[in-house]
Symmetry: C2
């Protein structure tokens, strides 16, 4: 079942207007929520980010946080979901094509819940990545539907047989195509500051908090491709991928070419924050 | 009537799948064709640009140029359009949400034709503009559905009572929110080169050709906000707005604050390229 435009409908009859601004401008925002054991994980952080994205693009959300939550919980219940993800997006609504905001258009929310197993195999083995220029716009902190830059980067990785892509602006590393990047060097974590050039990842925030609680130094600062190549460990963080080690970059091993001890410890600590399921 | 996914349907029943990649990634391209007197203007240039956009984002167009042309001509005929615009877009098709290109998805084309009078009043009077940072991605030469940067810029202009917005990267002027920008200084035209930072406008190309034919110097080079402020004349070019003078920028008059002689002459020359209607 899909929630769309104020009601729950079967997938087969879920359609949207060809005049939805999401369809011709990508004019909307989204969130992906994690469900563990039938319950949303860090739901408030996701709602806060959703509300910030909406505010920053001048979009009025169609429901209060409480109403939205009731809708998402009903999706989980309907699907009897245990480990799952909820995808939800809100567009600025249906209106004739004209760039400025339309008067009177009603935002359209779409949401669905899919079973999504935890990424255990990749968390254990790690993944490979290539590096590419970051050609995205300058508001990557907003979770908008303008994702073609990430799509093209990810496709390039796929065609080269890599699992993901690490983006950089003139040699300064930002993040991965759909996740944040953290490296370990001499016992400290380094990651791009949460400014307009990266998504303010919720898993990223949890991981940095866990590291600080363990007394590990965390440096939120831009670092270069050169530093990336010399990292002892590297991993990505995301709602879906959790903490996934990157063991090879541009064909060269990261550190010893296997997930490292800091990554392992953080995975272990992260695990402990997940309600039993 | 709307052409959508291989058939012509009434507007009321024209819908698209909520799983269309256009709807959640903005993963698609578009073109806007001008129709004068029932005939498409510079159609081949538009088809070439469409094919280039498709190629650059790795999207296979669903029809040959000849087939697409037959569809667009049938829209003109159905609407008995004289002065009109045809909007058409192609998305990568319907597939579960995953960044890399989906295997086997069929691209979806949507197209419609709307009566669109020539912008005679604004061509005569001119418009006002503000200047703002250009935060769009680094492939503005592609006509993709990732248009939120332009949407937000245009909205900012509207809220400040201006007609349009002139974008710049660190003080270097690129173009307007949905059109190219040309300035006149000491009898020469200056405009940003057709690289990855601006749309390769078809009206822009026609105007530069007309200017050269008149013996007017054309300099395709990046210019600064400072030079913009000292311009004798400024105008935008686009398929819909043709050659529209900009008479005020950030509250200050451009030149004498009225459309200038070079702009007038180019409007006149452009007029002569339009088939009688």
């Amino acid at each position: 079942m899909i929630w769309i435009d104020d009601r729950l409908v079967p997938e087969s009859s879920a359609s949207v207007s060809y005049m939805d601004r999401g369809y011709y401008f990508g004019d909307g925002i989204y969130e992906v929520f994690r469900v563990y054991g039938g319950r949303m994980y860090e739901a408030d952080a996701h709602y806060e980010r959703l509300e910030r994205s909406a505010r920053e693009i001048g979009l009025k959300l169609p429901y209060t946080r409480k109403e939205t939550d009731a809708i998402l919980v009903s999706l989980i219940e309907r699907e009897k979901a245990r480990n799952a993800t909820i995808y939800m997006q809100v567009t600025r609504g249906v209106a004739p094509r004209s760039h400025a905001f339309p008067a009177g258009a009603k935002p359209v929310m779409m949401a669905y819940c899919n079973d999504t197993p935890r990424p255990t195999p990749t968390m254990e083995k790690g993944i490979t990545a290539i590096t590419r220029p970051d050609i995205r716009w300058l508001r990557c902190d907003l979770k908008t539907l303008n994702l073609l830059g990430s799509v093209l980067a990810k496709q390039e990785a796929a065609e080269l047989g890599a699992d993901d892509v690490i983006l950089h602006r003139d040699g300064v590393v930002t993040e991965c195509s759909a996740s944040n990047l953290i490296i370990v060097k001499d016992g400290a974590l380094h990651t791009h500051p949460a400014d307009h050039l990266i998504l303010h990842g919720i898993t990223r925030a949890v991981v940095l908090r866990l590291a600080r609680e363990r007394g590990v130094e965390v440096r939120e600062r831009p670092f270069t491709l050169e530093e990336l190549r010399k990292a002892d460990e590297a991993f990505l963080t995301s709602t879906i991928m959790e903490i996934t080690p990157i063991v090879q970059i541009d064909g060269l091993p990261v550190g010893g070419g296997e997930p490292g001890p800091f990554t392992h410890r953080l995975q272990h600590d992260f695990e402990a924050t997940i309600p039993h399921n």
